[in-house]
Symmetry: C2
Subunit: 96 residues, 2 copies
């Protein structure tokens, strides 16, 4: 069950969870290199997996807010572990 496949899922989640609530274009800025096509697609998948909640705000122009669900928060620990490991790993492999 790899819910975190796709090139950007982890970065997206990190961006959202770091700020609590985040608008579409904010995430687009946070995550370097992502296209709106991908952001849209992956957000939709995260929504399907109930990791992310989507709220439409009736502003003008319209904005959409994303935040982690409770369930999404349970991932945070695991993801940060993975991220930490990645940092150590990089040091070990690259810096030798």
């Amino acid at each position: 069950m790899d819910v975190l496949n796709g090139k950007w899922k982890i970065a997206i989640i990190s961006s959202i969870c770091c700020y609590g609530k985040r608008r579409f274009s904010d995430i687009l800025n946070d995550v370097d290199g992502i296209s709106n096509r991908m952001l849209s697609k992956e957000l939709k998948e995260l929504e399907l997996n109930e990791l992310v909640k989507r709220t439409i705000l009736n502003t003008q122009p319209i904005t959409v807010q994303y935040e982690l669900t409770e369930h999404g928060n349970t991932l945070q620990t695991t993801i940060s572990n993975l991220a930490d490991w990645g940092v150590v790993h990089r040091k070990k492999i690259v810096g030798k």
Copy 2:
């Protein structure tokens, strides 16, 4: 730094770490659906990242043994967390 990309990395690591040492064809059996082509390729990547150690045994016919490196073992905790989370997740999403 997604070292765990590819469709099978996690399953392969699980197989190896579960048994300690594992031969090529054993892993081929453990991991359901994988082809020798993929197994070979992903093992090579894991080896490059120093997660897995490869030892050629001078038996007849020749066999090759794979085991996790120390560094590979540091992943075990994180992976099993991820796996646990996956199980819970599946229950939550599928079984509602």
